[in-house]
């Protein structure tokens, strides 16, 4: 190994234990000045704990051993006062959740200036001036209220910029970014990552970029360390890592991230199953009084869509575009302002509402899987009872043996055991829970399943398995899917056709390959360009 210069950050044999469980296991890591170093891994691999250990911010219940050298200075032997001096001045950190990571009661200017004021003897005005210039650097210009704004007045992306400004206010040598864009929309993510990498280069900062998303690292990191259950299993130059795929775990990660389930063949002349005609959905504005009854905020504006039998359609868009609201409206959970929804020839929803009996007649034909594998189940019911719940929608509920058989069938078809029916939901992992959610959706033998970000909360390897399962079930039962997602990789994996949504309207519709490879609408182009992707030639 040719030693160009002493590394800025040198982590040797770092181990972290919580309640005698090893979270990080003899980890070694070297970072060079001005370079972006990626740390990849699935949830629970110990990457966040590594970052907190370097910062000296581990929870009180955790204990760390090993050595962490920053520019030759040993951080592990520093007391908290010594670390306080280094944190914010020599190294800064950015966290994942921009909505909660800023003090809601303090102006953004004060929060950035605080970094300056506690480390230097700069006066009030001067530290405010430094704060202003750093905020300016991250793209928060001082016009209008500027520094005097509070976090709640800013969008998620802007808050993340403020986070960056407070972390780099004193031009630290090391910046740790822990999933800095995971909570953000894809177009915002792209600009934040550009900003971070630009800063690292410009100010000769070493940056540790922690993420679960290999595609992000493919584009931005010079070197990548792959972490699995507390250990770094492989470290290499970015391109080499993807090209060689030396280690088994790295191979699994990369193949899961780019996984394509087997294509489902379907007949082209299938008839339309779900028809959404000129649907608008909205809410009455909060604060609107009895006298201004018409003051509504329209979330979904006059959209039309159809899904054929056996077809899988993806509805893509960024947060707040109205895709989930539309899904809820199709499910009958939101009243329509206008238009109608027809399923299998029966009208199931129209503005002004339909009688319960009309909805009930076809309810069993449509089911749903939600995003959150933890919030989707009543913790006090057995899995069998949870899976059987959709029978409530049917006019004739099966009883006794028939019910048991139906539940058992559903569990087996998603790869679970019949005995799992007697267990409770907290005994299952996230991936297993999502299988149970699919079993629940399958139990009434529906024709259409609406999947609302159904794989977004899962790790890549689990996600690949669930996508495979969905493809298999679709082929077997000639199911139709309406897949709501923000993730273009998922769209490619599962959808025959894609609908792109922005600000309540559809901007583009077409076959998946055509829309993603040759987008015609400007917004789609922006979306595709912003979506991180591992260069195909690296994977050849």
């Amino acid at each position: 190994m040719n030693k160009v210069s002493a590394p800025l950050l040198d982590v040797r044999n770092l181990s972290v234990e919580i309640a005698s469980t090893t979270i990080v296991d003899r980890l070694c890591l070297q970072l060079q000045r001005g370079a972006v170093h990626g740390l990849a891994g699935e949830s629970g691999s110990g990457k966040s704990m590594t970052a907190l250990a370097v910062m000296g911010l581990l929870p009180d219940s955790a204990s760390a051993t090993g050595s962490v050298l920053l520019g030759g200075h040993d951080l592990m032997s520093s007391d908290d006062a010594g670390m306080c001096d280094i944190r914010g001045r020599r190294m800064g950190m950015i966290f994942q959740e921009p909505m909660t990571a800023l003090n809601p009661l303090m102006t953004i200017g004060d929060q950035v200036a605080e970094t300056v004021r506690i480390h230097t003897s700069t006066g009030h005005d001067e530290s405010r001036a430094i704060a202003a210039s750093r905020l300016d650097r991250v793209g928060i210009t001082a016009d209008r209220a500027g520094l005097g704004r509070f976090p709640h007045e800013l969008s998620g992306g802007q808050r993340q910029r403020v986070m960056i400004a407070q972390a780099i206010a004193l031009q630290p040598a090391l910046l740790i970014a822990d999933e800095p864009t995971t909570a953000l929309d894809v177009t915002t993510q792209a600009s934040i990552l550009e900003l971070l990498c630009g800063l690292a280069e410009e100010e000769a900062m070493a940056m540790l970029l922690i993420t679960h998303d290999l595609a992000v690292l493919a584009r931005h990191a010079a070197r990548i360390s792959v972490m699995e259950s507390g250990r770094i299993v492989e470290e290499a130059e970015s391109e080499a890592l993807f090209r060689n795929r030396t280690h088994g775990y790295t191979r699994t990660l990369i193949s899961s991230a780019t996984h394509q389930p087997a294509k489902v063949a379907r007949s082209q002349d299938a008839k339309s199953l779900l028809t959404v005609e000129q649907v608008s959905v909205g809410y009455r504005k909060s604060g609107a009084s009895l006298f201004t009854d018409n003051a509504t905020r329209t979330i979904v504006k006059d959209v039309s869509l159809s899904v054929a039998t056996g077809e899988s359609v993806a509805l893509v868009g960024e947060s707040g575009c109205g895709k989930s609201t539309l899904a809820r409206a199709i499910l009958g959970l939101e009243p329509l302002l206008g238009g109608s929804v027809t399923l299998d020839g029966h009208q199931i929803s129209q503005s002004g509402g339909l009688p319960e009996s009309a909805q009930r007649a076809v309810r069993g034909a449509m089911q749903v899987v939600f995003q959150d594998p933890f919030g989707s189940f009543n913790p006090r019911h057995s899995v069998a009872r949870l899976v059987a719940e959709p029978f409530h929608a049917l006019p004739h509920t099966p009883r006794g043996r028939d019910l048991g058989d139906a539940v058992a069938d559903a569990l087996l078809s998603v790869g679970l055991q019949i005995e799992d029916g007697t267990k409770f939901i907290h005994e299952f992992s996230g991936g297993q829970r999502q299988r149970i959610a699919i079993a629940r959706a399958l139990v009434t033998r529906p024709k259409l399943i609406i999947l609302d970000e159904a794989v977004s909360a899962l790790d890549v390897s689990i996600r690949a398995q669930v996508l495979d399962l969905l493809a298999e079930l679709r082929a077997k039962h000639n199911l139709s899917y309406l897949f709501i997602t923000h993730d273009l990789a998922v769209v490619r994996a599962i959808a025959d056709r894609v609908v792109v949504m922005k600000e309540g309207r559809f901007v583009e519709t077409g076959p998946t390959d055509q829309v993603l490879d040759h987008p015609s609408a400007g917004y789609t182009r922006e979306l595709v360009a912003a979506s991180p992707e591992i260069p195909p030639e690296w994977l050849a």
Binding site: L331, L333, M366, V368, F370, R380, F391, A393
Partner: protein, 276 residues
């Protein structure tokens, strides 16, 4: 049974002491060391002895016997008042959450604010002014004061449950709001209600003591802890035990209930969190 072994010590102590007080209160229905209604001037203001374990009051009544009957009064008033508050407040809170943002929700919340503006003592004063003082009035006053407490706690917890996806899944299955409230919401907030109930129980005992101290609660000759303290006040310079024992009885009971409430919160909470 094995779950009892995992209970924290404070919770065990709290539950045990509460059970003992309840048992003593029930026992007073069939047996007390001495009668509490008779007046025996010859035996007045006796110090503690083997005949009168805690001594006697100015009418010669056995203090221990009076404390036992007083426990019954306090417990009965507090339990019935908490029951009244739960019986009215929980359904109100559940329906307000089910109709979140609707007129019913508004009505319940505004009603809550209005009742909250009346200190429990003021409610008791108003009720007493109308019906005259009695233990039933104390139950009513404390019960009315408990209604908005339970309505608010129930509504807040239920609203959090209503945002969960399993509620949406149930709605997709065509289940109505009332059915969802009973099947999905209530079971998942029940442990919170048990904790709140325990805390309100303790508070109820304190408030009952205060009301009967100022003469708005149980009326003589029915002994109550607050009444005993009021009677002892003129004698504290020469018979301090008359003021000390009833006070200790209140402190021990309320302390036990609060320990049980706090313990239950810690004991039940992690399970709720893990389950979510």
């Amino acid at each position: 049974m094995s779950r009892i072994r995992h209970m924290p010590r404070a919770l065990l102590v709290g539950l045990a002491v509460t059970t003992v007080v309840l048992a003593v209160a029930l026992m007073s229905l069939v047996w007390t060391p001495h009668a509490v209604t008779g007046v025996d001037i010859a035996a007045r203001l006796q110090p503690p002895s083997t005949t009168y374990l805690l001594g006697t009051d100015h009418f010669g009544r056995d203090l221990l016997s009076m404390l036992m009957v007083g426990a019954r009064t306090s417990m009965a008033v507090a339990i019935l008042a908490v029951g009244l508050g739960m019986l009215v407040g929980v359904p109100l809170g559940l329906s307000a959450a089910a109709m979140h943002g609707g007129w019913l929700d508004d009505l319940v919340m505004r009603g809550n604010d209005l009742v909250f503006a009346f200190p429990v003592l003021v409610i008791a004063i108003l009720i007493t002014a109308v019906f005259g003082p009695s233990a039933v009035n104390a139950i009513l006053a404390i019960g009315i004061f408990n209604i908005p407490v339970f309505a608010r706690v129930t509504r807040g917890a239920a609203l959090a449950i209503w945002t969960q996806d399993y509620i949406r899944a149930a709605r997709v299955c065509g289940k109505g709001r009332a059915r969802i409230s009973m099947e999905h919401v209530l079971p998942n907030i029940s442990s919170l209600l048990i904790v709140q109930g325990t805390i309100q129980f303790g508070l109820g005992i304190l408030v009952e003591a205060g009301l009967s101290y100022v003469g708005l609660g149980a009326q003589p000759p029915l002994p109550s802890w607050g009444r005993m303290l009021a009677d002892s006040q003129t004698m504290i310079s020469f018979a301090p035990q008359l003021a000390i024992f009833p006070g200790l009885a209140i402190v021990i009971t309320v302390l036990a209930l609060n320990l049980a409430g706090d313990g239950l919160r810690d004991f039940l909470d992690p399970r709720i969190r893990r389950a979510r």
